[in-house]
Amino acid sequence: MLRNKGIAFKLVLLFTLSSTCIFTLIFGYNYYVSRQTIERGIGENSKNLILASTNKIEAALAAAQKIPENISYFLENSSYNETELYRLLYTVVKKNPEIYGAAIAFEPYVFKKDVEFFAPCFFKEEGGISFKHLDKKYNYFLLDWYQIPKELQHPEWTEPYFDESRGILMCSYGVPFYKKTGDRRLLAGVIVIDISVESLREIVSSIKILKTGYGFLISKNGTYVTHPMKDVIMNETIFSIAEARNKKSLREIGRKMIKGESSLTPFMADSILTGKKCWMTHVPIKSNGWSLAILFPQDELMEDIVKLNKMVIFLGITGIFLLAMAVVYIARSITGPLRAMAQATQGIGAGNLDIEMPVVTSGDEVGKLTEAFGYMKASLKAYIEQLTETTALKERMESELKVAHDIQMSILPKMFPPFPDRREFDIYAMIQPAKEVGGDFYDFFQIDHDHLCFVMADVSGKGIPASLFMAVTKTLIKAKAAVGLTPDRIVSRVNEELCVGNDNNMFVTVFCAILDVRTGEMEYTNGGHNPPLIIRKTGEVSVLKSTGGIVVGVIDDAKYTVDKLTLEPGDSIYLFTDGVNEAMNKNNELFSDKRLEQGIIRLKEKSIKEIIDGIMGEIELFAQDTPQSDDITMMVIQYRGNVKEG
C-alpha cells in the first residue's frame, strides 16, 4: 500500500514515526530518571522525617516511664509509710508537668492486712492537685492499667483514652512492683502515671507534607491516636476503616504496623483522607507499641514533573509537527520539479521531443537530473533524426538491392523447359540466393544446333560485388563460347579476361560442359567447382571425375584441361554449388556430399524437376530454421538421346 504513495507522504510518515519513537524514548527515559530521583528524595525525606518524629515521641515517653520505674525501685528496696507514699506521689504530680495523675495501687490486703482496696491517687484538677483513694467502686483490679502489667509482669502503656473531665487524650503507664517474702517475689501492686498524649499528637500533627500529606499515629490495637480526619481519632481503628472501605491492603499495612514492623522504604498506599495514591512509610514506637506512619501524596510530589512532562510533550508534539511541515516543504521542493519532469518525460515517451523541460533553478541533484534529462532529450532528438536519415538510406539501398536481385535473376534462364522443340535433352534449374543478390549462377545455351553448353559457377564472396562479378563471368562465358571451342578453352579465355584488372582478387569456380546432343558425348572442364553427379539410367549415381583446374580469375595463365564423358539416353547430370552440400543446421553440421548423394539415389527415378525440388526439400528439412548462409543453386540436364522427331 505504501509502495503506491508519493515520496512526500513516505518522507513525512517515516520521519514522523521515527522522530516520535526517538522523542518517546527520550521522554520515557527522562521521566523514569526524574521519577527515580524524586522517589529517592522521598525515601530520604520520609526516613529523616519519620525517624526524627519517632525519636521525639520516644524521648517524651522514655522520660515519663522513668518516674514510675524509679518509684517501683524505691518501693521494692526501701521501707515506707503511708505519709511517705502520699508525699512521693504528690511530688511526682507537682514536679512533672507532663504527668496529670499518679497512683500506687496495691494488691488486696498487701499494704494493710484489712484493706482490700488501697490506692492513693494524686491528680491535677483546675490548676491545683487533688487527692483521692481509688476504692471498691472504682475496682481498679479490673482496669487495663492495673491488670495488664500485673498479668504480663512487666510495665505496659495502656491504650489511649479520652479524659472527659479535661477533654484531652490520655494514656497511662503501669509498672508492677513486688515484695520479697523470703525467696518469693510477690506482686505488691502497680504504680500508674497518667500523661497527656497531646504533645505526641502535636508532634505528629505538625507533620504536613505539601497540601494533603500527613502523618498518623495508631495505638497497639490499631486505634487512630492522631489523624487529619478528626472523626476517626479514637473512634476507628485502621482495621475498621479498612473494613468500612473494603480495603484489604490497608488491613495488611495495619497488621504490619501493630506487629511493630517498620517500612522505611516508601511503598504505595491509598490515603484514606483523599483516596489518592501516596508513598507511605511506617515505624513502630518501641516504648508503647504504637506505630507512626507518614504519607506523601504522589500526585502532589509529581505535580512539578507532571507539569514539566506535559510541557515537554507539548513541545515535543509541536516540534514534530513543525519538523513534519519542514519535511513537507523539502519534499515538495524536491517532488515538484520531479513531478514536472515526470510529466515532461511522459511527453517524451509519447514521442513529443519538442516538449519544454522544467526550468532548472537549483544546482542540486534534481536540478542536475533535469539538466541531464534536457540533454538526453536533445541527444535523443538528434539521434532520431540521424536514424531517420539512415533508415531512409537503408530503404533506398534495399530497394536498389531488390532491383539488383531482379536484374540478376532476369539474366538467368528461367523458362523450363528452355527449348521445348528439342527432345534430346531437358534442363531444369533453380537458384535461391542467401542475400538479395548472390554470386552463384547457372547458364545453358546452344552453341550450334547440336552442341549445348551449360555452366554452373560460384563467385567468391557475397552481395553486390559477387553479383557483378557473376554477371561479368556469365557474359564472358557466353561471349567466349564459340563453335569449335572446347570448354577448357572457353574457361581459359574467360580466366584471362577476368584476371585483367582483378584488383579485388575475386574469383569464381566454374563447371563448364558442352554436350553433343546427337551422340551424348560431353566435354567438360572444372575450374575448382564441386564435381557434378552423374545419374545413370541404370540407377547408378557417381561423382564426375575432376579435371583438376583451379578457380577462375586469379592466375592469368592457369591451365584448364578437358575431359570427356558419354551420356546414354536417360542419363542425367546433376550440377550444384557448395550452398547445397555445405548447407548448415543449428548444430553447425553440414548437409554433406554423403546426404546429397543419398538424396539423389532416393530421387533418381523422379523427373528432373522433382529431383531438384526433392533435394531442396531435404535441405530445408535439414536446416530447419537455421538461416541460409550461402546461395543454393542446382541444375539437372537429362540426356534423352537422338530421338527422332515426329
Partner: protein, 333 residues
C-alpha cells in the same frame, strides 16, 4: 432472599395488624411507659430505638420513655424498683431474679441463640476445648460466668480464671490465653484490632449444648395484670421495630449511632453494622427448628434453669407458664 421477602411480608402483616388499634387509640388514649435496655446504647437494641424513632410505640398508643442503660444501671433492678415498666435482660439473669422472688414475666424472647463465646489465639496453641487446660481464661462476672463455668465443667477443664473487664485489651496483649466475648461485640473488636478470623479459635456456647437465649423483654407481673394491652402493644411495637431495623439496616444504624452519640459513647459504624447483622442472625436464626420470633420455648427455659440450679445459683425453678407469657402469637414465623 427468601428470608428478606418473608420479613417484608411479616412486616406488612404486622403493620396491617396494628393499623386497627391505631385507629382505636386516639391521641387522648396514649399511655405512658418507661423502658430500659440492659446495656449502653448500641445496635444490640436497634429494634427498640427504631420502633421509637419510627413512631411504632406511639402508633400502639404508648408514649415511651427510654432510659439509658449501662453497667451501673442494672435493668432488672430498675424494673423491680418500678422505675421502668419494661426492661430487657438475659434469660439467665431473669430466672435468677425470679427465683429470688421478684415477680417478673418474660413477655417476648428476642434473642434465640446465645452470642456468648470464648476466643483464643491459635498462636497460643488452643484449637479444642481440652487445650484450655491450665490456661488463663478471662471470664466476666455475674450472668456472664454461667456458661463459661459450665463449659469448663462439661469438658472437665482446670483453668486459671482471670476476672475480665469490659476491655478486651488483656487478651490482645496476651495477658490471658482465652477471653470471653460477645459474638456481636468483642469478637468484632478483636478483628478490628488486627487479628484475622483464621488466627482465632472460637467456642460458641450454643454449639456446645449451652445455648442460653439472651435478650428478652420483661415486665412485672403486676404491670401485666393491670394493663395486658399495654404489654401487648409494647411487645408488638418492639418486634415491628426489629423487623424494620433488619429490613432497613442503614437507617437502623443511623438511629443506633444517634443514640450512642447522645450517650457520649465512641461510635464506630462498621462495628455497629457488624452488631446489627449479628443481631439478625441471633433474633431470626436460619434454622427451621428455631421458635417463632419473640417466643421462649420451654426446652430453652428448662436448660437454662438446670444449669443455674446445678451451679447453685437458683434453688427452686420458676414455673414456665407463669414466667413466660406469649404476646407474639399473632406473629407467624
Amino acid at each position: 432472599m427468601a428470608k428478606d421477602i418473608f420479613i417484608c411480608c411479616l412486616l406488612s402483616c404486622t403493620l396491617l395488624f396494628f393499623w386497627v388499634p391505631d385507629t382505636v387509640h386516639g391521641q387522648e388514649n396514649l399511655k405512658r411507659a418507661t423502658f430500659i435496655p440492659q446495656w449502653s446504647p448500641q445496635a444490640q437494641f436497634a429494634g427498640y430505638f427504631v420502633a421509637f424513632e419510627k413512631g411504632f410505640y406511639k402508633k400502639q398508643g404508648i408514649i415511651l420513655n427510654i432510659l439509658p442503660g449501662g453497667p451501673n444501671r442494672p435493668s432488672l433492678d430498675l424494673l423491680d424498683k418500678g422505675e421502668a415498666d419494661f426492661a430487657t435482660a438475659w434469660l439467665s439473669a431473669a430466672i435468677q431474679k425470679s427465683s429470688q422472688g421478684i415477680k417478673l414475666v418474660n413477655v417476648g424472647q428476642i434473642i434465640q441463640r446465645s452470642a456468648l463465646m470464648l476466643i483464643a489465639k491459635k498462636a497460643s496453641g488452643i484449637y479444642r476445648p481440652e487445650d484450655i487446660n491450665g490456661r488463663k481464661v478471662g471470664i466476666w462476672s455475674a450472668d456472664f460466668q454461667l456458661q463459661p463455668l459450665a463449659f469448663l465443667k462439661k469438658y472437665n477443664l482446670k483453668a486459671i480464671i482471670v476476672p475480665q473487664s469490659y476491655s478486651i485489651n488483656l487478651f490482645l496483649r496476651d495477658g490471658v490465653d482465652v477471653a470471653s466475648a460477645m459474638w456481636y461485640n468483642e469478637y468484632h473488636t478483636i478483628l478490628n484490632a488486627g487479628l484475622n478470623p483464621d488466627e482465632l479459635t472460637t467456642f460458641f456456647f450454643y454449639e456446645h449444648g449451652l445455648n442460653f437465649p439472651e435478650d428478652g423483654i420483661y415486665t412485672l407481673e403486676s404491670t401485666l395484670k393491670k394493663d395486658p394491652e399495654l404489654v401487648r402493644a409494647f411487645v408488638n411495637a418492639s418486634i415491628e421495630g426489629w423487623l424494620y431495623a433488619f429490613a432497613h439496616p442503614d437507617e437502623a444504624l443511623d438511629i443506633a449511632l444517634k443514640y450512642m452519640s447522645g450517650a457520649n459513647i465512641p461510635a464506630n459504624r462498621v462495628h455497629q453494622k457488624w452488631m446489627l447483622d449479628r443481631m439478625k442472625d441471633l433474633v431470626l436464626p436460619e434454622n427451621d427448628k428455631s421458635p417463632p420470633m419473640g417466643t421462649l420455648t420451654e426446652s430453652d427455659f428448662i436448660r437454662v434453669c438446670n444449669v443455674l440450679k446445678e451451679n447453685g445459683i437458683i434453688g427452686k425453678m420458676p414455673v414456665f407458664n407463669t414466667f413466660y407469657v406469649n404476646f407474639t402469637g399473632h406473629v407467624k414465623k
